[in-house]
Every structure is written in structure tokens, then in C-alpha cells.
Symmetry: C2
Subunit: 326 residues, 2 copies
């Protein structure tokens, strides 16, 4: 059980993540699935952990990732982007045998999405606790865990090792509980509960808050999670903005920015990375929420999950020129 | 050693192939590789064995394929196309675990091509000698083997079983020796040599003829291969047409058709399928070459490896309205 009121400062060491690096290929026109030749655009660097950690680096935070890509152009485009933006990729292994993971996405007319994935059987599914991964974890100050990646073989061992290493240095952890419901209720329920209990910062969106707490009401869910030891909860509300619930019972609502949505993929990861990095820098929660809302909003205005990532200078300019909701 | 002067007639049973079913994703503009987001188009049904067998069916020939796809839209688009065109897909297994194979292709300014493949570790690499594969092979009249697919695990066993089954029915075999040179010279050289020796019809293109014979001169290569028992050799010369060399020493040169090339992928497979199917129908070699040249030429005028496949009615119209080379 954690009783930390805020994530460990930047001085403790870089923020690290582990999980899938992918390319994303997008259909340019909405519709149902991929059952005929379509106009597409890609490859875009992608993968939730990669989006998250790239945004940490864009904000000037120390950043590293444990991952695996194939020895192909799709691996290269990701590694080049991460390196350019300042992410430590020393713990990214390159597979000669497996191709870089990929996700084809097409928006439906109703706003839903159809996917064709190659993740579990791609290089992304070959992540392991290598010597380089241990070395990165041993020097880290914060571990961010994404629920969506826990189903990949090898991830549990990495998360267990890294969480312990980070704690041993006085570091902190955050958890995005974007997990399929079957996973929470299944054999992996115990690990999920432990990750929630251990989180200094929980970053759910929508119903994930209720699922994480196992109750049907937002206020009750927050109380239950704080009682379990969560340090702070930041609820992502998409275009409507975000709300921060603290262990001391305070609540901050932060309205979103009004933008034209082009591509929402990656906005939640970009939001979370920005909030975390601002807090690790010592920023007050209200200001961190504001930057996080701005980063998420700016991200949806660009096609490609990592194309709208931005540093503080760009975010300051965006905030100065953009209306907020309500 | 085979001494057959022509492939077994259609009455012996359908033509079958085994190997990869893929989707192809193409860059719309030439350039080098996939190191930035590009305009793409796809998924197109693809995979050399699939292209070949679909063209057999388009010409009204009995046709079946032994393959494996993933349970995703990319598998569905291929299965729907093959079924629509009349191919027996009863021996295509569907993997819950592995995604359908894929190939990204981009043409270089110099006419070369860059690829990013996911084949060996995709569903295409999970092909096996299933009960359905045995059943299909047991009723087949002709087996076509593609050298490019022999590196896939499981293919050798299927080819060995199917070749024996087809021979037992009085059927015939053809072989497209599009094999990487390392394979011919490596541990698999014996199987390659056996496939050449056993072929009633050999369908090389360019240097593959010389590589198959192990000599540096076209005439010598033809003589050597005929001496080894090959029934007939049809050399694919791309835009320049084709040449047929028979065991009796005769030679037929057939000029190509003059077309604007949009996408050459699949043209060789389309050519081979057409020549074989015409011959199995009892057509004279010269006329079979003519149809095969027409089918290959028509295929390169359409983007997508299977989008330019055509039946006899369309080929007759195309031949009537198109000039020939020389």
C-alpha cells in the first residue's frame, strides 16, 4: 500500500515504461473493416507505451523504454523517432526473426474503430527481462504501467522487477488501468489489484475507474481506491477534460480545450505522460492538469498517434490561443 | 525422372498449390522503403500460390489451395476472393492465434522494390499437412510448386505428400524455380534438384533457368534440364514475351503484348497459371503461350497482384485490341 501524495521528483531518475512498439496504418476514409482495398496512410510510430514515453521526453523529462522491434523499416522508424526525441532505447531489443508489431485502424461512421492487429506474435510479443532492461530499471525513478500490455508474455516479470527496483530507489509508480474486463475478472485479477493498490498515481478513463474499484458510482469508486492506498487519481474525460481526486479528499475539475478532432488515438497516453511529467517536475496538480488537457487536445488535431506530441513551448502557445469547454 | 510431353488433362483432377496467402499493401508513390508515413493502398489479396490458383479458377480450371490465414479481415478478403472465383478453399486452415501474412511493397525510382514482410511468423508460416490437405491432394490431377514457398516450415512435407498422391493418379507437376540462390546451394539443394528433375513443366524466369541448370548459357541450360527429364520448359521473359523449349528439341518464341505497366507483381504467376491451364485443357503450346502472354500483360496494367486476373472472354478481347512486341 502506497501513501505517497505525489510522484517521485525527476531527481530520483528517469520515467520508464515497458510494452509494445508498433506501427499504425490508418484508413483515410471511415467505414467498416478492411474487406476491400482502401486508401491508407502509414506507417506511423505507435504503441501506447511508446507514445507515453515519447511525450515524457518531449517535455524534457528523463525517459526510457523496455521493448522489442523487428529488424525492418517499421522498427527503424520507431527507434529513430524515440531517439530523436530523447528517449533511452538501450533496452529495446531488435529481433531478426519477428517483424515489428502493427495495428491497422479504421474509424467507423459511428466513431468506433475496427482493428487488424499483429502484436502478440510480432516482435512486440518477444519482450523479456534482458540485462539491458534490468539496467534501465535499476536506474529509474518512476515506472508507468499500462494495463493493455499486461497480456503480453514477459511483461509481468518485467513489471514485477521494475516496480521493486524503482521502489528501492525511493521512486514511484503510475498505472493506466486500460484493461479488458475479462482480464480483471480472470486469473490475472490478483496482479491487476496489486497494481492498483501500489499506484501512487492512477490514470483511468471513463468506466475504467469503476472497473478498477469494482463499484458502479464515481464517488464511491474514488473513496474505495483511496482507501486501498492509491496516492492520487486523475480521471480522463476526453474532450470534457479531466478531474483529479487526491487522498486528502480534494477534487479539481479541469475543463478540456475546444479542438477539431482528427484522430483521437494516443491522446490518453499523451495526457497521462504530460500530467505525470509536470508533477515529477514539482508542478501543482491544477497546472499539471491544464498542461495535460492541452497536450491531449493538441494530439487529437493531428493524424497519427505520436504526430501531435509537443513540448512546453508549443503547449503554452496552444493554450494561449484555444478556448476551453463550458 | 519424368518423360511426359504435356501436363495431365483436366479430367485427371484439379490443379493444386500450397503456400502463402498474404495481403499486399502498396505505397502509391515510388521511393525508398517505409521510413516515414506514406500514402498506401490495400489490403490486396496476394501471395504467389494464391495468385496462381485464382487465375487457374478464373480460366475455368479445377483449382484448390493448401494454406493458412488468420481469423481477421485480411484472411477474410482472401478467402472471399478465392471462393468467388471458384477455388476450393477446404484445405485453408484459419488460425485464431496468428495474423494473416502481409507484405508491404514500395517501388523504387529505379524499378526495384523494397518490402516489409510478415510471412514466416504469420499464419502463412503455420501451414501443415492437415487431413483436409491430404484429402485435397488425394483427388488432385496436377501439383504446381513454387520455389519461393519452400522455405516455409511444413511446406516440404506437403509437397512430398502431394507430389506422390498426384503421380499415383497419373497426374503431373510443374515447378517455378523462383528460389534464392543460397537455397539452391545450401542444405535444401537436393530437394530443389529433385523438384526440377520431377517437373513435367518448368516455369523459370530470366536467370532462374541458368540457376536451375547450374550453367551460364541459355541453350546449354535447356539441354541439361531436358536431359534430366524435364518435360517442357517455358521461359518467362517479362515484357518481351516467352519461349517454350520442348523435350523434342523444338522451340517456340512468343512476343509479348505492348501495355503500360502499372504494377508487375503477380504477372509471372498469372502467366504460369494460364499456360498450365491451357495445356491441361489440351491446347497446343503456341496458343497456350499466346494466352499466357496476354494474361501476364493484362495483369501488369492493374494495381494489385490479383486485380488483373481474367478469364478467356476478357483475354480474347484484350488480345484482339493490343499490339505485340517486335
Amino acid at each position: 500500500m502506497s501513501r505517497r501524495a505525489e510522484p517521485a521528483s525527476e531527481a530520483t531518475g528517469p520515467t520508464i515504461v515497458a510494452g509494445e512498439i508498433l506501427v499504425e496504418i490508418m484508413a483515410t476514409q471511415p467505414g467498416l473493416g478492411f474487406l476491400e482495398p482502401l486508401a491508407l496512410v502509414g506507417p506511423f510510430p505507435s504503441g501506447a507505451p511508446a507514445i507515453f514515453i515519447d511525450q515524457v521526453a518531449r517535455l524534457g523529462g528523463g525517459a526510457g523504454i523496455i521493448a522489442c522491434v523487428g529488424r525492418d523499416d517499421f522498427g527503424t522508424i520507431n527507434l529513430e523517432r524515440l531517439r530523436r526525441d530523447g528517449v533511452d532505447v538501450s533496452a529495446v531489443s531488435v529481433s531478426d526473426r519477428y517483424p515489428t508489431g502493427s495495428a491497422f485502424v479504421r474509424y467507423r461512421p459511428d466513431g468506433g474503430r475496427d482493428f487488424v492487429y499483429n502484436i502478440a506474435e510480432s516482435a512486440a510479443g518477444r519482450i523479456g527481462l534482458t540485462a539491458e532492461a534490468r539496467r534501465l530499471a535499476d536506474g529509474a525513478g518512476h515506472l508507468h504501467v499500462m494495463g493493455s500490455t499486461l497480456s503480453v508474455a514477459g511483461l509481468k516479470e518485467i513489471v514485477a522487477y521494475a516496480a521493486k527496483a524503482v521502489r528501492a530507489r525511493g521512486g514511484s509508480t503510475s498505472f493506466d488501468p486500460n484493461v479488458r474486463k475479462e482480464l480483471i475478472e480472470g486469473a490475472d485479477g490478483a496482479q491487476f489489484a496489486a497494481l492498483v493498490d501500489d499506484a501512487d498515481l492512477l490514470l483511468p478513463s471513463g468506466d475504467e475507474l469503476l472497473a478498477a474499484a469494482g463499484v458502479d458510482d464515481e464517488d464511491q469508486a474514488v473513496k474505495a481506491l483511496i482507501a486501498r492506498g492509491v496516492g492520487e487519481i486523475v480521471l480522463k474525460r476526453g474532450a470534457a477534460g479531466s478531474t483529479r481526486f487526491a487522498a486528502d479528499g480534494t477534487r479539481i475539475d479541469s475543463p478540456g480545450f475546444v479542438v477539431e478532432e482528427i484522430d483521437p488515438t494516443g491522446a490518453g497516453d499523451c495526457f497521462g505522460a504530460t500530467y505525470l511529467t509536470c508533477r515529477r517536475r514539482g508542478m501543482e496538480p491544477a497546472r499539471a492538469l491544464l498542461y495535460a488537457n492541452a497536450a491531449g487536445a493538441l494530439n487529437v488535431t493531428r493524424r497519427g498517434p505520436m504526430e501531435g506530441l509537443a513540448g512546453f513551448d508549443v503547449l503554452d502557445g496552444f493554450m494561449a490561443g484555444t478556448d476551453r469547454t463550458k
